[in-house]
Amino acid sequence: MDSRFATDCESDEGRVPETGVPPKASVAALFWTFFRIGAFTIGGGYVMVPLIQRDIVERRGWIDKDSFVDVLAIAQTAPGPLAVNTAVYVGYMLRGIRGAMASAAGCILPSIIIILVVAALFDQISSSNYVQAAFAGIRPAVVVLIVSAAIKIGRPVVRSRVELALAAAAMVLVAFVRVSPALVVTAAAAYGLLARSTADNGGKDA
């Protein structure tokens, strides 16, 4: 998040004063981007990781790869739905409080609309074979999308043996030992802060 944001942005009182460089994403663009993502986040928050990465990091270039990893770290440390947390953080980074609100609203609006419709038509929908079959088809694709996100996000982040060990430990602790992701991220943060060996690596980010 640096010089690439310093373009085409009119003054905006909703912006955070600390933001040295104005972001280029409009509040409306944030809303629609997260609306689109929210509409396709089926089967839990992690599905939106590849979707957000594609839309916001790769296609629009609103935030860079490293910042996206930091966003995910914070989103998983805070309580609440991962999708909403990510939307709030990305929105805040780009457009301050108003951006955060617009992104969060965009992210949850599709669910609200769909659930209200579903709640009204519940019996017909839940007993439809076609609906069940469609989701049986979507679930394997979800696995592929998440794996691709892990690879894309991991490539620039996991470069040393220590980093690989950290990633592997986090995976095992969460997937098999069922430790809370928030606890794992917090422990990894503490490790990073205290470990001497990673200090030079951290310097690159500053």
């Binding site: 709030v88 669910s111 892990a150 996991v158 995976m171």
Partner: protein, 173 residues
């Protein structure tokens, strides 16, 4: 009054849900079913099924559904606002803090530890989903098709999901 109670109950659920999605289901159970008596276990099971097959965070879906059952459309909206309020406030606070210490060496070190762990968490999510998604030869073939569409044909992830859903409706029904 029911609206206020809905808001507060779901704010409580949102506040204590770490790790997203499924982590909140036991909380909803204790708060909404046993605590408030707003739902039966049978209705709750239906809600989980719906939340699983509809887009959006499970926490949000469950909140909307329960709120709607109890107090109509307005109830659905109020419960949803309740469940996301704590996240919005806490994430904003963390984002402001991160922005304030953007250039500090300490934060850079914290990030250097967190980043690899996040990659591990995403891999863990893939494993968790794989356990329920890749159950037979058909579903593994579907995964292979999705991988082909994503990596070779380079389709947008959303298009990959839509195509997979369509294929699923044809193949599995």
């Amino acid at each position: 009054m029911i609206l206020l109670n809905l808001y507060l109950s779901f704010a409580k659920v949102g506040l204590f849900t770490f790790g997203g999605g499924y982590a909140m289901l036991p909380l909803i159970e204790s708060e909404i079913i046993h605590g408030r008596g707003w739902l039966t276990v049978r209705e709750f099971t239906d809600i989980v099924a719906i939340a699983e097959v509809t887009p959006g965070p499970i926490a949000v879906n469950s909140a909307t559904f329960v709120g709607y059952r109890l107090a109509g459309v307005l109830g659905g909206i109020v419960a949803t606002l309740g469940v996301v309020t704590p996240s919005v406030v806490i994430v904003l606070a963390l984002a402001m803090l991160a922005k304030r210490f953007e250039n500090s060496a300490g934060l850079a070190r914290v990030k250097s530890g967190m980043r690899p762990a996040v990659v591990g968490l995403i891999a863990a999510a893939a494993l968790t989903v794989a356990r329920v998604a890749l159950v037979d030869l058909k579903s593994m073939m579907m995964a292979a098709v999705a991988a082909l569409l994503l990596f070779k044909v380079k389709l947008d992830p959303i298009v990959v999901l839509a195509v997979s859903g369509l294929l699923g409706a044809i193949i599995f029904s």
